[in-house]
Structures are given as C-alpha cells and as structure tokens.
C-alpha cells in the first residue's frame, strides 16, 4: 500500500510528522501559558517573545561564547526563567489583584519591547543555527524518511510536557502548586510561601517557552519575529483546550499540530486557518474550551 485516500503515503506521513513537530511547540508553549494562568491569573502575552529570546540566547551563546546546542538547551531556558523572575518581581506582582486585562496589556507591552530590542540588534532576516551533528540525517522507516532532529524535537517536548504534568499532578510539590492555585490565602496560612511559589511558577512557565525556543532554533530560522508568528496560533490552541488545564493544553497542542499537518495534505488552502476555524466552532459549542471548566 503506497497511498492513503489517494495521497502518497510518503507525503502523508511527512506532513503528519511536520504537524507533530509544530504540535510539540504548541503543546510546550500552551502548557507554560496554562501553568502561569492557573497560578498568577495572568494571560502571558510575552510568551512568544520569551520563546524567541530562548532561541536568540542559544544563537548568541553559540556565536559569541562558543556555547554549543546541548549547553544552550540547559542555559537558555535558565536565562529566560531568570528574565521571567525579574519581570514577576518588578512588575507582575503588583497586578494580581486587578483584572486580567492589566496583566495582558503589560505582558503585551513587554513582548513589543523585547521584540523591538532584538529587531534593532539583529534585523528581521533570520539567523542560521545548524542542526547538532548528532541529529544530522534521517531515519529510514521504510515507508518514510524521518529527519533525526524532528524526531528529537517531538521526543524532547513530550518528555518535558510529561514531566511537568507528572510533577504537578502526582507529587507533593505539585499538591502545593494546585493548592496555591485554588486557595492561595489558606495555603499561605498553612505556612507555605505562596509568593515565592508564584514567582518560581512564572519563571518555570517562561523557561518552558525558552526551552521550546532552543528546540526551534535548528528547526526554523532564528529571528526576532519567530515568537509573534507562533504565539497567535498558540493562543488559539489555549482557547480551544481551555485555559488552565495542564493535560488539556498538551493534548490540544499536539492534536491541532497534526490536524494542521493533515490539512496541508488534503486542502492546503485552509492549512493556516484551520486552527482558527476549529477555535470558532469550539467557542460556539463549549465556550470554556474542550478541557476547561465553566465558571
């Protein structure tokens, strides 16, 4: 069998894989947004810019300091997390008691500033970042060629997402997090340092974005605009999955990536809008999203 619904199996599987790669980025980014929203009640519009900052830090590390891919995969997310902690301590912490809108506007402004800064420094044409040599080439799976780096992106994202889910849902630390999300005051009255947890949660959430940025660096062009191109789709993913659901954001991210990939095979004209069409339908049928709880 070499065709599926009249499409060559090579092309079909190729697009499905590409969709899964995109879905991995959607999942990692929307997971970070969900964790941040749950704990801080803030819609982090700076998420795309911090994803870009992760890729940029990896590029800068390589070109200015000779720091390779693997160290960047560790250091760039730490750097982005640190930027996040500074943002939280200096600005966000004053907004928790106000309407969501204030946090959204502030982080949107921060995104513009970050992007403007990198645009000024590096222009918009995109910077090359080569695939680490361990991942050069492709696996021959018989029915298709799977580029090794794509396989790594999917694997690494799934691992990180699963680890995050596991920590939040299955460990005592995660119980603190869930408790602080549900009833911060009482949790603090039990002697748990909730403000510290909030700060670390924001740092961790944006570090996830930074991690996705480093993963993306060899797979796409490193460019100051890479975040704003992606984040619009990620927000649609979050709306579809439902704000605040951990598992929901992972599953929805992966699922929508694959749907997008398949749309490229069957009806390429709609491939860049299909996510938004699904979003409109979900909003009509389940306003709180597929996994969200109505308030």
């Amino acid at each position: 069998m070499s065709e599926i619904f009249g499409i060559p199996i090579q092309a079909f599987m190729g697009q499905l894989m590409l969709g899964l790669v995109n879905g991995s980025f959607y999942a990692t980014l929307s997971l970070g947004l969900a964790v941040i929203f749950g704990m801080l009640n803030i819609i982090n519009f700076a998420h795309g810019a911090l994803y870009m900052a992760g890729a940029m830090l990896a590029w800068m590390g390589l070109n200015y300091f000779g720091i390779g891919y693997w160290w960047s995969l560790l250091l760039a997310p730490l750097g982005v997390g640190l930027i996040g902690i500074v943002i939280e301590r200096s600005m966000l912490q004053w907004l928790y008691k106000l309407d969501h809108l204030y946090g959204l506007l502030l982080t949107f402004g921060l995104a513009l500033i970050l992007e403007g800064l990198f645009r000024d420094l590096y222009g918009v044409s995109g910077l090359p970042y080569s695939i680490p040599e361990e991942f050069a080439g492709a696996y021959n799976l018989g029915f298709m060629f799977l580029p090794k780096y794509r396989a790594w992106v999917i694997l690494a994202s799934l691992l990180v997402c699963f680890a995050t889910w596991f920590v939040i849902e299955k460990t005592p630390l995660g119980a603190y997090l869930r408790a602080a999300t549900e009833n911060p005051k009482l949790t603090q009255a039990f002697g748990i340092n909730v403000p510290l947890m909030v700060m670390l949660t924001y740092g961790f959430g944006v570090a996830l974005a930074g991690f996705a940025g480093v993963l993306a660096a060899p797979a796409m062009q490193v460019s100051p605009l890479m975040g704003s191109n992606l984040i619009i789709v990620v927000f649609a993913v979050v709306v579809i999955g439902g704000m605040g659901s951990i598992l929901g954001s992972i599953v929805t991210g992966l699922g929508l990536g694959m749907i997008e990939g398949l749309t490229k095979v069957f009806y390429p004209e709609a491939s860049s809008t299909v996510v938004f069409i699904i979003m409109a339908i979900v909003l009509l049928v389940r306003p709180a999203g597929l996994f969200g709880r109505e308030k």
């Binding site: 549900e182 009482l186 039990f190």
Partner: protein, 236 residues
C-alpha cells in the same frame, strides 16, 4: 491562672478589609494549654479576628504577641511556623486535591504532631475516603479532614472556626470528644462558636465579641452569675 504562660496576647487590634474597618480594638489573651471560645452574633467579627491573627485580612494595627513574638507585620506564611494551625469556617478543603493530599498538605512546622495512623484512628472515615477527591467528601468528612490536617503539623495553637456548624449531632459529639482529647494532650485552642451549648462545656474561658470588640469575659466558674450577660449578648 497565675502560673500559666501566655501563648497569644492580642492588644488594641484593628483590622480592615479594604476600606471597611471591621475590628475596633480587640483585647484578649490565651494561655498555654487553655481552651478559649469567642462567642458572638453573626457578623460580630470573630472570623475576622482569627484571620487577622493569621495575617489574612487587609491592613492591621495594634499588637499580636504570639509565642513571645510580635507578629503584627509578619506575612501569613511565617505565622504558621510559630505553631499555629487554622481550621477555617468554610473548611477550605481543596477540591483539586484528594482527601489524602489535603491531609498531607500543611507542612510540618514542629515535631510532636499527631501521626497519620493516630489521625486515621481518630477519624476512620477519612481513611476509607483517602483516595476521594476533596470535592466529593460530605460536609462532615470535610470538617473532620479540615481538623485532622492541622493536627499532623505539630501546631500547638489551634484556631477553630465554627467546627460544629451544620453537622449532625453525632458528628458534633465526636468533634467534642476530639477537642477534649486535644486539651488533655496540651493543645491550646481558640474555638469560635455560634453553638453555645457545644462550646460551654469545652471552654476554660469565654469572650463575647460584638462590633469588633470584646465586650465581656466569662470564666468557667462564672457562668451562673453572668447568666444575664449571656442572655443579653447571645440570647441563651
């Protein structure tokens, strides 16, 4: 009690929620090992008093000496570490945590807490329901869990807000026994109560709260002679 040492002394405590001024100079104290009850009508400010001690209200002024330290300016998470356990009026069981996770949530703040085995012996229902989600527990189970989880931590001062409210008589009786056991093992307890008949036999002293102030103090042996006060403020 001349020999008793104060665990808590509240002096001239004012507390606010935003702009609303709720406590207007509370003065009272609790000695180590004592069980004191705060009685009063709805809206008198008893819950707010507990919250102010814990640092959960808005602005506070005055003095709160806890275990020998002035804590009026402290953030909430530090106060628990002086040995304070809190059972809130609304019970505060986390819906997103299982019963067991709820029980294990409050961090250990001192040694000498009640062990999990002892807790399950005290409240057998909780052991049966330990895998249930917090939101699935009955009102009585939630109340027992809210009590149980602060016994584990080594807290020595328990702030208990309306623990008998809305519960079946058997469960109220059970909670009364638990309080008695806790007193015997040396816990210091503040009982905020609506239910005079539940609180009276347990309390060493009673304070009556009205409009954010203490308006009367009644010792355990003065119940007869201060009957009129009780009638005036509480209608009992």
């Amino acid at each position: 009690m001349a020999t008793a040492e104060e665990y808590l002394r509240v002096t001239g405590l004012h507390a606010f929620y935003g702009e609303s001024h709720i406590l207007h100079g509370m003065d009272f104290s609790v000695n180590r090992g004592e069980c004191v009850t705060l009685l009063g009508r709805n809206g008198a400010g008893r819950t707010t008093t507990l919250k102010a001690i814990l640092g959960l209200t808005g602005k506070r002024t005055g003095s709160i000496m806890l275990n020998g330290r002035e804590v009026i300016g402290w953030p909430a998470h530090k106060i628990a570490h002086l040995g304070v356990g809190y059972c809130p009026e609304e019970r505060g069981i986390y819906a997103s945590l299982s019963a067991e996770e709820n029980l294990m949530l409050p961090p250990q703040i001192a040694s000498g807490g009640v062990s999990v085995d002892e807790i399950y012996a005290m409240f057998p229902n909780l052991q049966e329901r330990r895998k249930s989600q917090g939101s699935r527990l009955s009102g009585g189970e939630q109340q027992m869990l809210a009590m149980a989880r602060i016994l584990r931590t080594g807290a020595r001062l328990l702030l208990l807000d309306e623990i008998s409210e809305g519960l079946a008589p058997v469960i109220v009786q059970k909670l009364g026994e638990v309080i008695r056991t806790l007193k015997e093992s040396g816990f210091t307890i503040i009982l905020v109560e609506q239910n005079f008949h539940f609180a009276a036999p347990l309390a060493d002293r009673m304070y009556i709260v009205e409009h954010g102030r203490i308006v009367a103090e009644i010792g355990r042996d003065e119940l007869e002679q201060k009957q009129a006060l009780l009638h005036e403020y509480l209608g009992v």
